[in-house]
Structure formats: C-alpha cells, structure tokens
C-alpha cells in the first residue's frame, strides 16, 4: 500500500508549527513586570558615602522590534509616593516640597523618542518628566536575557544605568554638601510579552 508521506493538511500543520517556533521579527508589545523590575538610585550623603533608595510602584510598556530597533519604544511611569529609602521619616521628607513635592508632582514619566541598537546594547533616548521639569536623556540598556517563563509566557530583561543632576529638575534643597547633586539611577526591567 502506498503511503502518503505528507498530506496537504499535515503540511499546513507543519508550516504553522515552523512559523510559531521561528523568532517573530515584527514589533512585539511588552508590559513591565513591576515585582521583578527595579528603579533604584544612590546619591552622595555629606560627601562621605552613598544613600540608596528605590521606587516601588513602577508601571510601563515597551514595544520591541528586534530587526528594526528604531520602531521600538518605551513608556514608564513611577509613582513618587512609593519612594523607599529604608527610613520612613526620610521618605516623608523626600516627598515634601523640599525634594520631590509628591503631592504636586505625583508621577515621574519617561517616554522614549528614539531607540538604537548595537548588539546587545540598546540606546534609549527619551524625555524624563520629573518634578514638573522635562529633560531629554539617553540611557544605555544591556539585554540580560530572554526566554519562556514557566507559565507559558515570554519574558525579556534589560538593565540600564544613567546619572542625572537633581538641580536640573529644580530639586535643589540641601545642595550645600548635605545631599549630592548627581543621582545615579539603576534601572532593571523584566518585561512580559503581551
């Protein structure tokens, strides 16, 4: 008996499977996984050490186009009242008009305007809106890794670091030596494909 090696139906199934397993080249949408993402910062204290802090409420979305990075984009929102410096009293002071003025400016936003890529390094240029001031900055991000998660989803991660001057965002109190002007930002994001 002659056996058909591949029926047309089997070919369709096989083709579909191949398409599914091939890396998707088009732009893909991701959302920030807030519990596996970190926005931390450190700033000089009295010129002798660094004080560390983080923002715990992060929200954001990204569109990643591996083949055409220019078509990629990022939007991030950070709730200022989620600041955590391991001192409740200091957190309250940081939220006061002396620093972030969290009741007047409750959210900080970053919106990308340009994305470029060289290997695993992604240069994300965008507008940071903080304390009512908008500034353009470029943040280099390294791709940490990508892959399937145990729940059937797909994740990818980026790690970036940049430095801003708080005085440029009109956060100038305590610049006379108590708290440094330069603030280093440490940005680690785990993104879940939507």
């Amino acid at each position: 008996m002659r056996r058909k090696f591949l029926t047309p139906a089997a070919l369709v199934v096989l083709a579909s499977a191949l398409v599914a397993s091939t890396p998707v080249l088009a732009a893909e949408s991701y959302k920030v996984d807030p519990v596996h993402s970190t926005i931390a910062f450190r700033v000089e204290h009295l010129g002798v050490s660094y004080a560390w802090g983080r923002f715990n409420a992060i929200d954001g979305k990204a569109v990643i186009d591996e083949e055409n990075p220019a078509a990629s984009s990022v939007t991030l929102e950070v709730r200022i009242d989620s600041i955590d410096t391991n001192s409740e009293k200091r957190d309250k002071h940081l939220m006061s008009p002396d620093f972030f003025d969290a009741k007047t400016f409750p959210v900080a936003r970053f919106t990308s305007t340009k994305v470029t890529r060289k290997g695993d390094t992604w240069q994300v240029t965008g507008t940071l809106e903080l304390h009512g001031v908008k500034k353009t900055l470029t943040i280099p991000f390294e791709r940490v890794g990508s892959g399937k998660d145990p729940w059937g989803g797909f994740r990818t991660g980026f790690s970036g670091r940049t430095t801003i001057k708080r005085s440029e965002f009109n956060i100038s109190w305590g610049l006379n030596g108590a708290v440094g002007d330069e603030v280093e930002l440490f940005l680690d994001f785990e993104l879940i494909r939507e």
């Binding site: 204290h45 009295l46 001192s87 409740e88 009293k89 200091r90 309250k92 002071h93 006061s96 008009p97 002396d98 003025d101 009741k103 007047t104 400016f105 409750p106 009512g132 001031v133 009109n170 100038s172 109190w173 305590g174 006379n176 108590a178 708290v179």
Partner: protein, 285 residues
C-alpha cells in the same frame, strides 16, 4: 553656611532697606504715598530671598514656590488698591475676592490628584478663611500702629520658620526665615522713625504669604493641622488682646501685648509640631 545666611537673611534685608529708603525719598513727590513703600519693599525683598534660595519660578506656576512669585505681587496690588481707595467696604470686598482666588491656584494639584470635589471645596474655604482672618487681624493691629502690626508679623515669621522645619519642610521654613528677615528691616526702620504712617499695603501681602507658607507646610508636607491652625489664629489673638488691653494703655504695653499674644499660640504650635516630629535616629539631615 555663609550662602544660606546671605540668601535667607542678608539679601532680603538689604533689598528691603534699599527699596524702602529710595521709595521714601521718591515719596516726597505728590503722586506717591510713602505709606506704600513698605509693601513694595517687603514683597521685593522677600522674592529676592526666595529667588536666591530656590531659583527662578516655573512658568506657568505649578507648585507653591512658583505661586509665591505670582501671588506675592498680586497681593501687593490688592493692598495698594485698598490703600489708595481707602474705603472699608472696598477693603472688605477686595480681601474676600482675593482670598477666594488664592486657594484654587495654590491647592490645584491636590484637588486634581488627591481630593474629591467636596474635600477640595472644604479646603479651599478653610484656606480662604485663613487669609481673611490673617488680613483682618493684621489690619486691626495696623490701626493701632504700624509697629504693632510689623512686630506681630515678624514674630509670626520668626516662629513660623522652626514650625515649618519641624513640619518636614525645611525649604519653606527657610522661606519663612526670608520673610522674617524682610520684616526685621521694616521693624527696625519703623523704630528709627521711618515715615511709614499707614502701611495698609502690607496687610494683603503678609496675609497671603503667611497663609501660603503655613498652608504649604500642612497640605504639601507634614505640619499637623492643629499646629497650622494655631499659627493662623496667632495674629487674631494679638489683635483681640490689644483691643481688650484698653484704648490707651501705653505704646510699650500695647506692643508687648501684641508680641506676646502672637508668640504664645505659635510656641504651642511649635511644641505640637515637635511632638509629631519623629526623633532623628539614623536619619540625619
């Protein structure tokens, strides 16, 4: 430290001194009233200090420190208008209209992000009432004499500074210090015979700036509401006390009554704020 001393105390005092003396000299001309010089000098000196402490304002103004640059001169214009018109009915209407205008501007971020419409309306009303109360109290003191009003306002600003620092806003405490330095110059000038016969134009700027500073401490930082309320009623206590003390009790006694009755509620407010203030521990600036 020298920079802080310069921006908080010396610069505003110097600006007030120069402007007050120049304005007095110009005041010899008929179109100018020397009485107005106090208001102009105070607002200019205060804003020069604010500028040195926090830098230029954002435009359009969005936060309390930016509003100082708009509402300070705005209050001065209202004060100058009241001085020129010189009618109590105009004064009353202008004060109420001005007091109704300030809170929606100053508290807009909270109304937008944190409060419902009823809470916002209640807070606007309370803040407007605070401005009217401060203006009315200072006006009553001013009717007893410029020095009574200026000394009371100086004590208000002087004790307001530590009050705001304890209320988790060192910046606005520093700005209260700027106001105290500006007022100190006017107090000294008045004691030495500077021709401020009727500094009515000072009432609205002082009431507005006082309400903004205390209100910012309460609404945007951690100043307890009871402490803020005591600060606002302090000049009213002084005005009432001076009235009760008698019609002609003697200059020194009137002045001492005004200063003491302003200081007592503010000192209680400082104690309340201190008790609400968590002791420093590992957090040290």
């Amino acid at each position: 430290m020298a920079g802080v001393l310069w921006s908080t105390a010396l610069l505003p005092a110097l600006v007030v001194l120069v402007l007050a003396l120049v304005a007095s000299a110009v005041g010899r001309f008929s179109w100018w009233r020397p009485a107005l010089a106090g208001g102009v000098a105070l607002v200019a000196g205060f804003l020069a200090g604010v500028l040195a402490v926090v830098g230029g304002p954002a435009w359009p103004p969005v936060d309390a420190r930016s509003w100082l640059f708009v509402l300070g001169p705005g209050a001065l214009i209202v004060g100058l208008a009241c001085e020129y018109v010189g009618r109590p009915s105009f004064d009353r209407v202008a004060t109420i209209c001005w007091a109704a205008l300030v809170p929606p501007l100053l508290l807009a971020p909270l109304a937008r992000h944190a409060w419902g419409p009823w809470q916002a309306a209640a807070m606007f009303l309370a803040t407007a009432a605070a401005i009217v109360l401060l203006a009315e109290s200072l006006a009553r003191l001013e009717r007893r004499g410029p020095l009574e009003m200026l000394a009371c306002a100086f004590v208000f600003a002087l004790l307001g500074a530590p009050l705001l620092v304890l209320g988790a806003s060192a910046l606005f405490g520093q700005l209260c210090g700027v106001l105290a330095a500006s007022l100190a110059t006017l107090v000294l000038l008045t004691i030495t015979g500077w021709p401020t016969r009727a500094p009515r134009a000072l009432v609205h700027p002082l009431a507005t700036l006082g309400a903004i500073l205390v209100g910012t401490g309460m609404f945007y930082a951690e100043l307890p509401a009871a402490a803020a309320a005591l600060a606002i009623v302090a000049p009213a206590a002084a005005a009432a006390g001076v009235g009760i003390a008698g019609r002609r009790p003697g200059r020194v006694r009137t002045l001492a009554t005004a200063v003491l009755l302003t200081a007592v509620p503010l000192l209680i407010a400082v104690v309340l704020a201190y008790r609400a203030y968590e002791p420093p521990g590992s957090y040290g600036y």
